[in-house]
Symmetry: C2
Subunit: 338 residues, 2 copies
């Protein structure tokens, strides 16, 4: 199967989520016994109660893999997305946003059952973010939603680790791996979250070994995956498992492991970090865009870092400018081509 | 000036030397009060006396920059060399060897004055190498030997740090820098030796800042250049000075500094190191060959390391196999193209 037979640069498969952002006082969390910081999975009832009690400042389409394909589309890549929304207001918003970004999204919406998934991001006065996620309709993704023709037509199949939170979504992810390899395509996994990685460590490690060509993770997630705190040791552990591992470390930049080569790339400087949601997703977007343009791995990492710098300078995990121009302009300053 | 106007991939400018290898007992050094280990510069008389007293095991054409162009020629690059020999037996050997390697060498030989330069490498029973260098005719290189047409016709002008040992050779090197930049060509410097770097630190640092695009050094040389032992700090110090710095660290592999990107590449494993002479020269050869083939910097470093591994597995600093096939075969095992 030739790469020239592809239509899409990437198909993202993940939880279709809407990010709901609200500012609350400290009391809001303590009164409701909500865990501060990190990501907590919620049931429908609790999610509904919180949603009813907040004044949403913004509702922005999100979801890890969806953010990545939205970033890639903004860079000029051809993208598709597979994920499950309900045919409710949030679901319609999600579909509209992803369509407006120029991404093909054909997965049929649920007409009954759980509502569209949402991540309620509560920002306390100390600027800390506590994320409460109700997966909802996203959990109803099944193997039947994995369109063989789309996988076949995509250079990269991009999976998010969150899919391992739900048995049938995980089965859908494994089906996508199988189809991608059948057509000699590359499979990419982004680990999504430290706790999620810890909870599904054995299964994720197995899938990384057997199925994944390119792995994205932040430092916490990769430490959770290998149950180790020895960062340099981890780089040697991940080396034989995947072709490329790209590990982000916030202000410390990122590290790319590619066989006998380890590449350390400085982070793009940002004046004020407004909201770090989506930084990893957009790093992956920039990196893969560089791969598709056949740039060196160092340049791929620089593009990833620049894309991430745009996202964290405002609320929400979707770009607010055309990333293509943003990245081109920044790279030119470093004497590199996007 | 377009790069397509070039004839040569690289022109090497350096001391034209013949390496004379001999095994001696410990007493040979102590009786003559010769410094064990490292490189010592000798006058004609002392060099003559040592040369008369040894039984040369091998005489192999050498010289740092000459080794590099010989390595590149073996990889398939088009190369020229500028350097000074005497029209004596060693000089004729040098000219024959460099011609046989397919390298253009037009610099006229001395008909009078000092003999062809030689590095007498004495190997003691403990396997340590002590190098005694008589620069001889090499010191008579002048600005008149720097052929403008050759510099203009070469993508890279490659200089060795040893040129800074002699005032008129240094002036020739600076003239080459000026001409290369006039025609928008790149200038490469290899630091050659720790002591030489220490002795000419200020001048070399100035030339690195003002003239050099690509810098090669080993860990000891770069520490001497910056008069610092803080290796990671040095990487940040060299970053703004050159486009690319490639620093070799023996079994620890090499580090490439390229703006915001630092690349750590593992060393190619070698069963037995027979003679480490020329390891740095051949690393530079492989690296530049990769640059000319537009490979990623990580792959360039891997090619450098593979080329070096061939050289250190036998006596002498010139390849004993066609490096092109050697490197291609080894790279294929890592899934890379040469």
């Amino acid at each position: 199967m030739k790469e020239t037979d592809t239509i899409y640069d990437v198909v993202g498969i993940g939880n279709a989520m809407v990010d709901v952002l609200a500012k609350v006082g400290e009391g809001f969390l303590t009164e409701r016994k909500l865990h501060k910081g990190g990501m907590t999975l919620l049931d429908a009832a609790t999610a509904g109660k919180i949603y009813a009690d907040i004044i949403p400042e913004r509702e922005v389409s999100g979801g890890s893999a969806a953010n990545t394909v939205a970033g890639m589309a903004s860079l000029g890549s051809d993208c598709a997305f597979i994920g499950k929304v309900h045919d409710d207001e949030l679901g319609q918003n999600f579909r509209r946003d992803i369509g407006a970004a120029g991404i093909d999204f054909f997965t049929p919406a649920l007409l009954e059952g759980p509502a569209t998934g949402r991540s309620i991001v509560l920002v306390t006065p100390d600027a800390e973010r506590s994320m409460f996620t109700y997966l909802g309709a996203a959990t109803r993704l099944t193997v039947d939603d994995i369109d063989e023709n789309i996988i076949k037509a995509s250079k990269y199949t991009f999976l998010e680790g969150y899919l391992w939170e739900e048995e049938n979504a995980k089965q859908a992810a494994l089906k996508a791996c199988e189809l991608a390899h059948k057509y000699n395509r590359k499979v990419v996994l982004s680990l999504s979250d430290k706790t999620c990685t810890k909870n599904h460590r054995e299964e994720l490690l197995e899938v990384v070994k057997e199925q994944i060509d390119i792995l994205f993770a932040n430092e916490h997630e990769i430490k959770a995956l290998f149950a180790s705190d020895d960062f340099m040791g981890i780089l040697d552990m991940v080396k034989p498992l995947v072709e490329i591992a790209a590990i982000t470390r916030n202000a410390q930049g990122s590290v790319i492991v590619n066989g006998r080569v380890k590449i350390f790339v400085e982070a793009e400087k940002v004046e004020t970090v407004v909201d770090s949601t989506g930084a990893g997703d957009l790093y992956a977007a920039g990196f893969l865009y560089g791969m598709i343009r056949e740039r060196s791995l160092g340049t791929c990492a620089m593009i990833g870092s620049i894309a991430a710098s745009e996202i964290i300078s405002h609320y929400g995990a979707r770009p607010e400018v055309s990333l293509r121009g943003f990245v081109r302009n920044r790279l030119l300053q470093y004497g590199k081509k996007a």
